[in-house]
């Protein structure tokens, strides 16, 4: 059975996530979009595993999920800290590391 539909769905999800990262100002929403991109890549891996009949893709999907979890921990910690000092969750506000 063709996995084209799944791959197309994964591509669409990835694009939506990418657009969200680039276009949304709220830090939480940007994070959400990153999660969406990770899930899109997970979907692509699972589809490939199913297509070739190996387990490699499934294992990689597990890896991705673990990495996503760890990343969320660190990322949310940063956002909470920034919010505490600045009272704002906008990514545009923190632009001090510039020339």
């Amino acid at each position: 059975m063709t996995s084209n539909a799944y791959l197309v769905l994964a591509a669409i999800l990835f694009t939506i996530g990418g657009a969200g990262v680039l276009l949304r100002r709220n830090a939480i929403v940007a994070f959400l979009s990153v999660e969406l991109m990770l899930n899109a890549s997970n979907l692509a891996f699972i589809t490939a595993a199913h297509q070739w009949g190996t387990l490699t893709g499934q294992v990689v999907a597990f890896f991705v999920m673990v990495v996503a979890a760890a990343e969320v921990v660190v990322g949310l910690a940063i956002i909470v800290t920034v919010f505490r000092t600045r009272r704002s969750a906008s990514v545009d506000e923190s632009s001090l590391l510039r020339w």
Binding site: G18, V21, L22, V91, D92, S94, S95, L97, W99
Partner: protein, 641 residues
């Protein structure tokens, strides 16, 4: 004075030194030790340093005299000794030894340099008595004597070159001795730089010698000269002539000697009259094997000699500064020696004879001039002298002895030496002979002018002048050299003693004279006496203006400007050189520094533009990542396809 042999070739074989001759290394070593001790001992030797130097000079003279008498006891073809000190360069086929050669020619120079040098050392004790850096002066003149002895005792051209450079260094140090005077420093630099041009000729000559003969030692070249190609021999001869021009202040490298009078008078007497400037003549006579074979080289030597003897005489005629007039005279007299050397085997011995005689009478006159200056508050202008005979008897008599010798009055030194060269010149051609005789007349004129203006006539002194005789330590050397100026020529010409002494080294051949030598001699003496009498009436009987007259002929103007020698050098060499260096500096600043600074500016500018990328906005960084990823993926896809 008839010669004993119509023609004699150089016959001496050089043998290693034995017996007393093994002491020949002491000759340069003693003054070198004196120089080293004086320079290194600092304040410790202030009290006795100058006497130590005088002692070293006299000690070297003593060794030289001992070796001379030892040499007289040997047969005339067995008087040439070498002493090998160590092997200096031994590289493949190039082999040069640090070795000395003592034969009749170098013996003559040894006695001249150490003898006259010792007397001048003694004189300097008095002349430099009030100078606080006197010890350094003595160190330098000892160094000079050591270097000059190295030059004349060297067994090969490379070691001669070491001595050559050494005397140039000593000349630089001594001309610029009074460092607080900018003019002295400039004169010293000029002397060194002009000498360098001649040294360039000598180094090229040595290289050419090695290529042609495979060796640079005198014995090797004497042996191989007849087998070498004429072009090589002529080339070497011309390069050696260039070297001689530099050291002996001959045209075209004559401009330094007039400025070198900035140095103390003993320096002028020793270096620029008796010894260093004669090194060029020594070089040519030592290379007689080459010059005898090459008529072209000899013609150039004769031309240089004639031009310079007239050039120097012209300058000497118009100078009012006593030392500059004597310097012009030296230039002219050395022109005679160079002329003698260029006349080939008939002239070599007379050139050296004149060199020896000139050493005596010119040193007398320079020391006398120094004594006059000492008694007249260091006044140099002859227009401010006059009537000094009564106040400085010994100085005057010594100076007059030198004067009679230089103009060639029989039976004094000049008659037996310079007049001989004029006779042999007639053997070359009428033109050369007449030019040489005309030069003798000019010599008589300017020397009489000098003597008349300084010692006779009316006193034209400045108000603060108290002329007095100099102390004995200065007048004794003048007296000794004055006596030598009068008698040495006659004594050494008995039975052609001096010519026979030198013949085994330089050869001799009788010149073919168009008229008898007696006729030439008599004509010369008569013309000289007439010119001297005329000059006497001009300068001793008529009042001499204290300020130099302005309405003078163009010749006088030219002679006062050193016959535009400096102007020519400036226009031909200095200004183009200056433009070249300035344009190179401009090029270095604008182009090379511009390239380096420009590339730095480019990097700085572009980095200034690039850093605006760091905007601080997270989203723009994210966009950069996306664009980069897209490019990588596109590249991957393109490669796959």
């Amino acid at each position: 004075m008839t010669a004993m042999l119509a023609h004699a070739a150089n016959v001496s074989q050089t043998v290693p030194a034995t017996g007393g001759f093994t002491l020949m290394w002491l000759l340069p070593a003693l003054p070198a030790l004196g120089a080293a001790v004086l320079l290194l001992s600092g304040r410790y030797s202030e009290k006795w340093g100058h006497w130590f130097a005088v002692f070293m000079a006299f000690a070297s003279f003593g060794v030289g005299t001992y070796l001379f008498f030892d040499m007289l006891g040997k047969p005339s073809d067995g008087r040439s000794f070498t002493q090998h000190i160590y092997t200096w360069i031994s590289s493949g086929t190039f082999h040069v030894d640090f070795a000395f050669r003592l034969d009749q020619l170098s013996m003559t120079f040894v006695l001249l340099v150490t003898g006259v040098g010792s007397l001048i050392h003694l004189y300097s004790v008095g002349y430099m008595a009030h100078d606080e850096r006197r010890k350094r002066f003595f160190a330098y003149i000892n160094l000079f004597v050591a270097a000059m002895l190295l030059l004349v005792l060297a067994d090969n051209y490379l070691l001669l070159y070491v001595g050559w450079e050494g005397v140039g260094l000593a000349s630089y140090l001594l001309v610029g001795f009074w460092q607080e005077r900018p003019a002295a420093g400039v004169a010293a630099k000029k002397a060194f730089v002009v000498n360098r041009v001649g040294d360039f000729g000598l180094s090229l000559a040595i290289m050419l010698m090695f290529v042609t003969f495979g060796t640079v030692s005198f014995s090797g070249i004497d042996a191989g000269a007849s087998h070498a190609s004429n072009n090589a021999v002529t080339g070497i001869g011309l390069l050696l002539l260039l070297a001689a021009c530099g050291k002996s202040a001959q045209v075209p490298l004559q401009s330094w000697i007039l400025d070198a009078m900035e140095g103390p008078t003993p320096v002028s007497a020793l270096i620029h009259a008796a010894t260093m400037v004669t090194a060029g003549v020594y070089l040519i006579v030592r290379s007689n094997a080459l010059f005898t074979l090459s008529g072209t080289a000899r013609d150039f030597v004769i031309a240089v000699g004639i031009i310079t003897l007239l050039f120097g005489a012209a300058i000497g005629l118009a100078k009012d500064d006593i030392k500059k007039a004597l310097a012009g005279s030296t230039m002219s007299q050395i022109g005679y020696m160079i002329l003698g050397a260029g006349l080939g085997p008939s002239g070599y011995a007379f050139a050296i004879f004149m060199l020896l005689m000139h050493g005596f009478y010119k040193a007398t006159m320079f020391l006398g001039a120094g004594s006059v200056m000492h008694g007249m508050n260091d006044e140099l202008d002859m227009r401010r002298f006059g009537g000094l005979y009564k106040f400085m008897k010994i100085t005057s008599l010594g100076f007059i002895a030198g004067y009679l010798a230089i103009i060639g009055i029989p039976p004094f030194d000049g008659f037996f030496s310079k007049d001989k060269i004029i006779e042999v010149a007639f053997g070359q051609s009428w033109f050369v002979g007449i030019a040489a005789m005309f030069g003798a007349m000019l010599t008589a004129f300017y020397m009489t002018r000098m003597v008349a203006m300084t010692f006779f006539g009316e006193a034209r002194w400045k108000d603060d002048a108290h002329p007095h005789e100099s102390p004995a330590v200065m007048t004794v050397p003048i007296a000794i050299l004055g006596v030598l100026s009068l008698v040495a020529g006659a004594l050494l010409s008995i039975n052609s003693a001096f010519v026979n002494w030198l013949t085994p080294v330089v050869g001799f051949s009788e010149p073919h004279l168009p008229v008898s030598s007696t006729a030439i001699s008599i004509t010369n003496v008569v013309l000289v006496v007439l010119t001297a009498v005329w000059a006497w009436f001009q300068y001793a009987r008529r009042p001499v203006p204290v300020i130099a007259p302005d309405h003078v002929t163009p010749f006088t103007v030219a002679a006062r400007n050193n016959l535009y020698g400096d102007t020519f050098n400036e226009a031909t060499f200095m200004r183009p050189g200056q433009y070249l260096t300035r344009s190179l500096v401009w090029f270095d600043n604008r182009v090379i520094d511009g390239a380096v600074n420009g590339s730095a500016a480019i990097v700085g500018g572009s980095s200034g533009r690039l850093r605006r990328w760091q905007s601080g906005y997270v989203r723009s960084y994210a966009l950069s990542i996306v664009v980069g990823t897209a490019l990588v993926v596109a590249a991957l896809l393109l490669v796959r396809i």
